[in-house]
Amino acid sequence: MTQDAPSLDDSLTQDPRARACIARYWRRNVALMVGLLAVWAAVSLGAGVLFADTLNGVRIGGFRLGFWFAQQGSILVFVVLIFVYALVMGKLDRDHHAELQALGATTRDEAGSSR
């Protein structure tokens, strides 16, 4: 099956630096998710439904703003959200993977020199 997650040997999962790295990865992941989902809710449920009447008072081009969000704006934002998530998570995955690899190398070195 897939081996996307960095394969960690036991010595590395015991290493506090590696655990801190993994915890940091997860915190950033959750923060990104919460942020994007807040925008997700704001443009669709917020601008398109709950505050649609208020926003309809504003006109942009030929559109009333609330109506535009419901029919076009929210969907455009959704597409952007998916792109942002893919790009940011890709970078986060690569960075932390590299950090863990580096930690794994030093752990092996220390183990090797003590032997």
Binding site: L36, W40, A52, G62, F67, A70, Y85
Partner: protein, 249 residues
């Protein structure tokens, strides 16, 4: 050539293309069948997913429900598309990282509970059943018009074709077929949308055309739609629906 001959030509060509792709990408192992051996490039996967968005149900009924319900139809648009964001953020990455083939497998292992697995199975069956029922009805209608048979026969013919290419190629065949469908569908969507838009408003971008003014009457498109709705006795097209009124805020 008559319209009928053209229809046969285009439908015949696109189906031969799909079946050819399915034959070329036929698979023999489980990994290939369920996850396409994970050898599909990201852009191709994106196209296949987009082709799912533009399926028979959206082609036939989304346009109808939005013009029928006006503003309230926008809820379907937002839910339909917004679901992809939830899928991309909350489910898809973890399904991949856990290395499972199906959502119930993932949910069951993630929460270490067979109850959760059972609930996920029920949801999956319910969602797939609703989806397939809508799609198959759409396929049936298309085939019944095109081959001039009744809808039940149309559904059978459509199912037979899907069965052949799904069995041959599994997810690999389906994904590459969907990539081909993506190009066919997007052309079929854009050509009439842009043509009609140029004819009505004199510029090519449909997204702007909706907010533009009609060339013939000098009336904004949306005002015209509002008036049509009012004439038919519905609420105005651009007015937020009753349940959404939080005027005081």
């Amino acid at each position: 050539m008559s319209i009928r001959a053209w229809t046969f030509l285009f439908v015949g060509l696109s189906f031969s293309l799909y079946l050819f792709i399915a034959w070329r990408s036929r698979v023999r192992d489980t990994r290939g069948f369920y996850v396409a051996g994970q050898g599909i490039p990201a852009a191709a996967n994106g196209m296949a997913t987009a082709a799912d968005w533009m399926s028979a149900a959206s082609f036939i009924s989304m346009a109808g429900i939005i013009s029928f319900m006006g503003y309230a139809g926008g809820v379907y648009l937002m839910g339909w598309t917004g679901g992809y964001v939830l899928l991309a953020l909350l489910l898809a990455p973890y399904l991949r990282k856990f290395g499972h083939f199906t959502v119930p497998d993932f949910v069951g292992d993630r929460f270490e509970s067979n109850w959760a697995r059972g609930v996920a199975v029920l949801c999956a069956i319910f969602v797939s059943f609703t989806y397939v029922a809508g799609q198959m009805r759409g396929v049936g209608i298309v085939f019944s018009r095109f081959l001039e048979v009744d809808i039940t026969a149309g559904v059978m013919i459509g199912m037979a074709i899907v069965f052949v290419y799904a069995m041959l190629g599994g997810m690999k065949g389906i994904t590459w077929t969907q990539v081909a469908q993506y190009w066919v569908l997007i052309t079929a969507f854009l050509v009439p949308a842009i043509t009609i838009n140029i004819k009505l408003t004199g510029q090519p971008l449909p997204q702007l055309g909706m907010g533009a003014t009609l060339l013939d009457h000098g009336v904004p498109v949306l005002n015209k739609l509002d008036k049509i709705h009012a004439d038919l006795g519905f609420a105005s097209y651009t007015d937020a629906f009753v349940g959404s009124r939080l005027r005081s805020l």
